[in-house]
């Protein structure tokens, strides 16, 4: 018996969301009195044994370059095989891009109950119950998993990474891997940019910015904070910003520690995608803007004056 954690790699490096999944999985293993093991698919540049500091004892590395790009079918088969070998009873994913693609397939393959979007450790006092987000962040559901093998996909930024001591034993696992049917022909990564779903801080702006030519001050603030940038739906619809920046009920749902909303009214559909943020700051010239009701800190003022001042103040404290 073990808890198996899928460790997700991008260009050879372990993703931040996977470190959260590792920390979480190690904690679940402790809860169940068993050990945590990890599985890595494809080429890895990072030193995998160092992942032991997140509490994982052993890492199964399927070091096969045909797994360098996500193919849900091939990944599912490989993980199922490793899960079988290790007698995994709980399999943990991050509910990120790879997790959303692979965890449901694995659930169907193993007939293992799946909780996607988990936000807390399982409650094992009476059965096995995992809390997840529902209704786009407006509520939680406690999901009972009754199957022998259970799968949890942990929401990014829902569980804090903690590192201790320890190294993991890395074992090369030679299993038959299917040739991927999904052939990746181009990768367009905005380099140097913080991925929105992994970002600790997100600076977001809405129609109050008046036009795409005014985004400079938003980007400057984001840069000063090492933050990702986001926007409201009408801004993406008008092509002022790329559609992958659209957050909300019908865009990306995020849960950063700090969300700064500039010139966004705070419509219910917008809030649905950002209300899991730990701290919300709203800058809006209208004191009646609904967003203030969901905010922790607010400034009623003109974004074109407030935002540059804020960037200056942050640069000052950061030195």
């Amino acid at each position: 018996m073990s808890v198996l954690i899928f460790i997700d790699i991008a260009e050879g490096n372990v993703k931040k969301a996977s470190l959260e999944a590792l920390t979480y999985g190690a904690k679940v293993a402790e809860q169940l009195g068993t050990t945590a093991e990890g599985v890595v698919l494809g080429t890895a540049k990072d030193d995998l044994s160092s992942l032991g500091k997140y509490g994982v004892k052993k890492i199964h590395h399927v070091n096969n370059p045909s797994l360098d790009h996500l193919d849900a079918q091939a990944y599912t088969k490989a993980i199922a095989e490793v899960a079988g070998k290790t007698g995994a009873k709980v399999i943990v994913f991050s509910n990120n891009v790879d997790g959303k693609s692979v965890a449901p397939r694995l659930s169907a393959k193993l007939k293992a109950g799946l909780v996607s979007g988990a936000v807390a450790l399982p409650d094992t006092s009476n059965g096995f119950i995992v809390k997840k987000n529902v209704f786009s962040g407006k509520a939680f559901a406690n999901i009972a998993l009754n199957t022998d093998v259970k799968i949890i996909a942990l929401n990014p930024n829902a569980y804090k990474t903690t590192a201790g001591d320890g190294t993991a034993e890395v074992v090369s696992t030679d299993i038959a891997v299917d040739a991927p049917k999904v052939k990746v022909t181009a990768v367009n990564k905005v380099s140097g940019e913080v991925p929105l779903t992994e970002a600790e801080i997100v600076v977001s702006a809405g129609r109050g910015m008046k036009g795409p030519e005014n985004w400079g001050i938003v980007e400057d603030l984001a840069k000063a904070l090492h933050a990702a940038t986001a926007c409201s739906r009408p801004v993406a619809d008008a092509h002022w910003r790329p559609h992958n920046e659209h957050v909300g009920q019908t865009g990306t749902a995020i849960a950063p520690t700090l969300y700064i909303a500039i010139g966004i009214s705070g419509a219910i559909q917008h809030l649905a995608g950002v209300n899991r943020s730990k701290v919300i700051v709203v800058i809006n010239k209208d004191p009646e803007a609904p967003f203030f009701k969901a905010a922790d800190y607010g400034i009623v003022g003109d974004a074109f004056e407030v935002v540059p001042k804020m960037t200056e103040a942050i640069k000052k404290i950061k030195g």
Binding site: V97, G113, L114, K138, K189, A294, A295, Y297, G298
Partner: protein, 247 residues
Amino acid sequence: MKILVCISKTPDTTAKIAFTANNTKFDTNGVQWIINPYDEWYSLVRAIELKEADASIVIHLVTVGAADADPIIRKALALGGDEAIRVNADSHDSFYIASQIAEVAKQGGYDLIFTGKETIDYNGSSIGGMVAELLDMPYVSLATKFELGGTKATVTREIEGGEEVCEVNLPLVVSCQKGVAEQRIPNMRGIMAARTKPLKAVEPTSVDALTGIANFELPPAKAGVKLISPDNVEELVRLLKEEAKVI
């Protein structure tokens, strides 16, 4: 070429979220129902666009739900699609629903199956992946662009911090999000035509759900906003650093 578009009925985005029966059931009192926006705006519209480019394409819609889902599926048919299938069952969990859709798909022999990236009520993002596994088809999730060239699809999908382009042969399951298509409003002709399009109810196959909902919870209310003067932006930054400790 046959395309199956999965349609889910969800509460309107402004619906009040409340629970009954000791917090075990969603309170549907006064709730307006809509087509799940991801299903409507992206997967359904993209399927319709493909058919507009190639009239030989046949589009079927599928939903798993009781008879009260019929207005939703008619609304979807008003946008486009040739016929609809409703699997007459209350939904249990994602695996149950995916198994029903997979059964319909097996009977119909589809080349392409579209789902939305998730539903806005249960936020599972699992149906597409499960259906693909049950049918042993490739799966591309979180698509932002979808092009068809003969029996090959070129799909752009989201990755952390960007996008990647991939090529896959049909048959294929794809989950769609923003970028794949633009929202459309049904017109009068579509609404009239939808009335006579076939909507077939079929009985579910027997499948055990893998999960159950123990209960629901609402998040704790926010303490209230602390307002800072626009002439004192330094104070906001100080509070974020020293009080909230987030920068």
